[in-house]
């Protein structure tokens, strides 16, 4: 058996192991991995998410037992301090020797610390490992009680800006200090940098350019940064992000050839100057370059595996450095040659200062080829543009269409994804081509996203290619005349719409019956709530009827919180509330010691109720005139209103009254996802109606009806469905629209993505709703009216029925409450004790 030693268990070292274990010759190799960090390899690319709540475990590329399960000996916290290429041995820092047949150096890089006086003063950090982030977090949390809250980041590149955002999220007032005259000088041109700067400043981060730091000063901890122009910046902590230095020290000291400016020299087989020694990832110097991105590193890992196991694969000459950045809060991408400017090239720019969008593409003079570009503020076209660029594809007649967003309904400027050449690399992290994906589909090997991910590992890296793979899958299946498989889960081989129809036609009454007739097994957390929603949409059945198929929140008619307590949200239609009712809420909150907060939906949330308290709380609220707010359900949440013509000097109609009317009409309505509405009294739009699933804006002569808006993760403005409607027509159209959505949407799909997938888009929807092109309008209205007539407050139902009440008890065999639950004080109220990280 041959022995392979891997030095470094970072992203690329891990990828090497992962690729090796899939090789048929796997059994011929014994693999030992040495990692200096205490944890197994983790996702450094998403390191910043460690601050926004991801745990160290969640960041792991594979759990610890993956290595032993795959027969890999992983030795963490063990650094290699010497290599003896003559005798094919490595030495650990504990002076133990290990022999190898093949040695793979995947030692990555470390943060570059410029030679500035004072860079080791406490309070100065780098941003590379989870330990760095722990240290930063601990330091920041000690500063705050002392009233200190200033942070600075040295370096306005890709990583520096990410670090700055992280410091800001920690509650620090953050400044970025950049030596060059502008941000990200390597990737962006001047207007792009400017746009980016103003966007980042909008996030509350201060930016200083043209500043050369000459000294860091401070007594016990950092206090100031001194600049060459005589100015200075006061700060309580500093994160240095001034570039990376390849970790070539061990290799260099052992006589392996390294570059003048660092990096272990390799050829296109990833071989170093020493026999059977390979270098991959950020430590490797290939074609005179160091590549600080995962995708090239992953390619190198694959080449090394191939070479060691007898394959012939080599590294491409040109390494693409295109990137889409994940600067939380704003899109930034650059690809190909972003700057190129000469007689052969035309640069096409689009700039919209108000929206903060800048786009540039560099196109050959003959308009045939795309050479590179930059996208700021809206990088949604990145995947398409990148494919056109990397595959040298023909451009549309008017290349500017590529960025001006002019397109036919439902069509991208690129045409169909199937037009891409087979060699087009779809997933660059895992280097998976379009051909591989399409072949796996046409051969019948794959018929779902899940299959493709399993077989090819595509989209398991940065995930950016996911939308493209979905499109490829759907288009390929369609072109094969196959139906796009949209099975709910392993228990039902039907789509939501099919099941909806089956249940309706066969008058199925409950989940068990549905399983017997159309499914198998016991069901699961996907199909149960979905069927519960269908039963509700068909019969207005409340969550009290089939309790255990409800999503766990619906089962207890409340949202579960961090420590297993629940929140209570009474309905406040349109956000209008009397002082007396406010006092009822205040009284209940005080009596049960609940944390109270005004929500983003114009009502009041009471947090921290124990399971057994819920019915008591609701009894009092119901007596005070409240009803369930369905804040836990995939159902109508709120219809937000602005004050409208009754008080506002600009109001065109009575928006509060109409919002209440609509909220009362659709309350309790269950749907594929939650539903939100808004009604604004004039085009100033204070109710943010266009951010809702349905929104009404008062205009001269009636209401403008907008549909399919969305806040949340993918914000979208609603699209105009009809204009100047009177109250009655407005409700008629709403009935039709909502019912049509409920019938046809895929599970957990908000109205905006539903419309995206609807063949024919808004024009089609208009035909269905306004012109009744399907001849179902009357039926839709009738169905809705039936549901409206059957509405009952499910909390009222629950507290009136002793059987239903049984579920609100923590223990079956005891009246005790959960003793694991603990609260800590917060401001003048309380919160659950924090989770241990």
């Amino acid at each position: 058996m041959k022995r392979v030693i891997v030095v470094g268990n970072g992203m690329v070292g891990y990828k090497f192991c992962e690729k090796l274990v899939t090789k048929p010759q796997r059994e011929e190799y014994k693999v030992i991995v040495f990692g200096e960090e205490p944890s197994p390899a983790y996702d450094r690319v998403h390191l910043s998410e460690y601050f926004s709540g991801k745990s160290a475990e969640e960041l792991l590329l594979a759990p610890k037992n993956w290595y032993s399960d795959n027969n890999i000996e992983l030795r963490t916290s063990e650094m290699i301090s010497g290599i003896d290429p003559e005798n094919k041995k490595v030495t650990t820092y504990k002076n133990e020797d290990f022999e190898y047949d093949y040695l793979v150096l995947a030692t990555g890089s470390s943060a570059f610390i410029p030679p500035i006086e004072g860079s080791h003063i406490p309070g100065v950090f780098v941003y590379r490992t989870t330990e760095d982030l722990d240290a930063i977090r601990t330091f920041a949390s000690k500063l705050k009680p002392e009233g200190k809250n200033k942070a600075a980041v040295l370096g306005g590149g890709l990583l520096g800006l990410e670090a700055a955002n992280a410091a800001k999220e920690l509650g620090m007032k953050t400044s970025v200090v950049e030596f060059a005259p502008r941000l990200m000088p390597k990737q962006l041109d001047e207007p792009a940098s400017k746009m980016l700067q103003s966007k980042i400043e909008d996030l509350g981060i201060h930016i200083l350019t043209n500043k050369a730091t000459i000294e860091i000063t401070g007594k016990n901890a950092i206090e100031k940064m001194e600049f060459s122009d005589g100015t200075h910046l006061e700060t309580n902590m500093l994160i240095i992000s001034a570039g990376i230095r390849p970790r070539d020290e061990v290799a260099g000291n052992s006589g392996i050839e390294v570059g003048k400016r660092g990096g272990i020299k390799v050829n296109n087989k990833m071989q170093t100057s020493a026999k059977d020694v390979y270098a991959i990832g950020e430590a490797a110097l290939y074609n005179d370059g160091i590549y600080g991105l995962v995708a090239p590193g992953y390619n190198m890992a694959e080449v090394a595996v191939e070479q060691i196991t007898g394959g012939t694969k080599t590294m491409a000459d040109h390494i693409d450095m295109s990137t889409k950045l994940k600067l939380i809060g704003t899109d930034v991408a650059s690809f190909g040659d972003p700057f190129i400017e000469n007689e052969e090239v035309t640069a096409i720019n689009y700039e919209n200062k108000q929206k903060g969008i800048y786009k540039r593409i560099n196109v050959t003079k003959d308009g045939k080829k795309l050479l590179g570009g930059i996208l700021i503020g809206d990088a949604s076209d990145y995947n398409n543009l990148f494919q056109i660029y990397i595959n040298g594809m023909k451009l549309p007649e008017h290349p500017e269409d590529l960025i001006l967003g002019f397109r036919e309904e439902g069509e991208s400027a690129m045409g169909s994804v199937l037009d891409l050449p087979n060699t087009a690399q779809i997933c660059s992290c895992e280097s998976v081509s379009k051909g591989q994906i399409c072949n796996s589909i046409s051969s019948g090997e794959c018929s779902s996203m899940e299959d493709i991910v399993k077989l090819t590992k595509a989209s398991t890296g940065c995930g950016g290619c996911k939308p493209m793979i979905t499109d490829l899958l759907n288009e390929s299946l369609k072109s094969m005349g196959k139906e796009i498989k949209t099975n709910l889960c392993e228990h039902f081989e039907f789509s939501r719409q099919e099941l909806y129809d089956l249940i309706k036609i066969n008058k199925v009454r409950n989940f068990d019956e549905a399983l017997n007739l159309f499914g198998k097994g016991h069901g699961c957390e996907l199909c149960k709530p979905l069927l519960a929603s269908i039963f509700a949409s068909l019969n207005m059945e409340t969550a009290n009827q089939q309790v255990t198929i409800q999503d766990s929140n619906d089962r207890f008619l409340a949202n579960i919180q961090r420590n297993g307590t629940y929140s209570v949200v009474p309905r406040v239609p349109g956000g209008e509330i009397t002082p007396d009712k406010l006092m009822v809420i205040g009284h209940v909150a005080k009596k049960y010691d609940l944390y109270t907060k005004i929500t983003g939906g114009q009502r009041i949330d009471l947090f921290g109720a124990e399971l057994h308290q819920l019915p008591h709380i609701w009894r009092e609220l119901i007596e005070g005139g409240f009803e369930s707010g369905h804040a836990y359900g995939k159902s109508l949440r709120t219809v937000k209103s602005c004050v409208g013509s009754s008080w506002c000097r600009y109001g065109m109609h009575e928006s509060v009254g109409f919002a209440i009317k609509i909220e009362e009409r659709y309350k309790g309505l269950r749907s594929p996802h939650k539903l939100k509405g808004g009604v604004s009294g004039c085009i100033r739009e204070c109710a943010e109606a266009r951010g809702k699933d349905f929104g009404l804006i008062a205009v001269e002569g009636g209401w403008n009806l907008y549909v399919c808006g969305n806040g949340g993760a993918t914000p979208r403005h609603g699209i105009l469905l009809a204009e100047q409607l009177d109250d009655e027509t407005c409700i008629k159209y709403l009935d039709r629209f909502l019912m049509y959505y409920i019938r046809t949407a895929a599970p957990l799909t908000r109205t905006a993505p539903w419309l995206d997938k609807l063949d024919g888009g808004i024009e089609y929807l208009k035909k269905v709703v306004i012109e009744d092109s399907l001849g179902i309008a009357e039926e839709l209205e009738q169905d809705m009216q039936d549901l409206v007539n059957k509405y009952e407050c499910e909390w009222k139902q629950a507290i009136e029925d002793p059987e239903m009440m049984k579920r609100f008890k923590h223990f079956v065999n005891s009246h005790d409450s959960d003793d694991n639950m603990a609260f800590v004080p917060m401001r003048e109220q309380k919160m659950p004790k924090p989770w241990v990280k």
């Binding site: 475990e57 759990p63 610890k64 037992n65 392993e490 228990h491 068990d512 399983l515 097994g521 016991h522 069901g523 699961c524 957390e525 199909c527 149960k528 709530p529 309790v547 255990t548 198929i549 999503d551 766990s552 929140n553 089962r555 207890f556 579960i560 961090r562 420590n563 297993g564 399971l611 049984k806 579920r807 008890k809 923590h810 223990f811 079956v812 065999n813 005891s814 005790d816 959960d818 694991n820 639950m821 989770w835 241990v836």
Partner: protein, 125 residues
């Protein structure tokens, strides 16, 4: 925190020393779960009505250490009976307590027996 977890160890049916009576079958929801208390332990009990099987496991979710599993949704994955935590939907096998999302988390499971419509859970103490 570890103390909390260390109270829970899977019990094999042949090793049971005491069978604790925890309630009538009718007190447990069909195709769902409820929680019982034994000494300082919280145990989630599940009634799989469709094939008349009962399962029990720790009520403590190993992910964030909250006492919530009995309130999770039940079901099966390729025939393995499971529960999904109501907090982040991690799913656990009720047969052997393993985590079905392929992560390291594991839960303790306990034997259940039904005699004369009474539910008993087996412990070693």
């Amino acid at each position: 925190m570890q103390d909390l977890l260390s109270q829970y160890h899977s019990v094999e049916p042949q090793k049971v020393k005491t069978w604790i009576k925890v309630g009538a079958t009718s007190e447990f929801p069909e195709n769902g779960g409820a929680c019982i208390k034994y000494k300082t332990r919280q145990i989630a009990v599940f009634n799989f009505k469709r094939d008349s099987q009962w399962y029990a496991c720790q009520n403590l979710c190993p992910h964030k250490l909250e006492m919530v599993l009995s309130r999770g949704m039940t079901g099966d994955s390729k025939g393995i009976p499971k529960v999904a935590c109501p907090l982040h939907k991690k799913t656990f096998s009720l047969k052997d307590g393993s985590n079905l999302n392929g992560e390291d988390y594991k839960i303790a499971v306990y034997p259940v027996k039904i005699e004369n419509e009474i539910v008993y859970i087996g412990f070693t103490d």
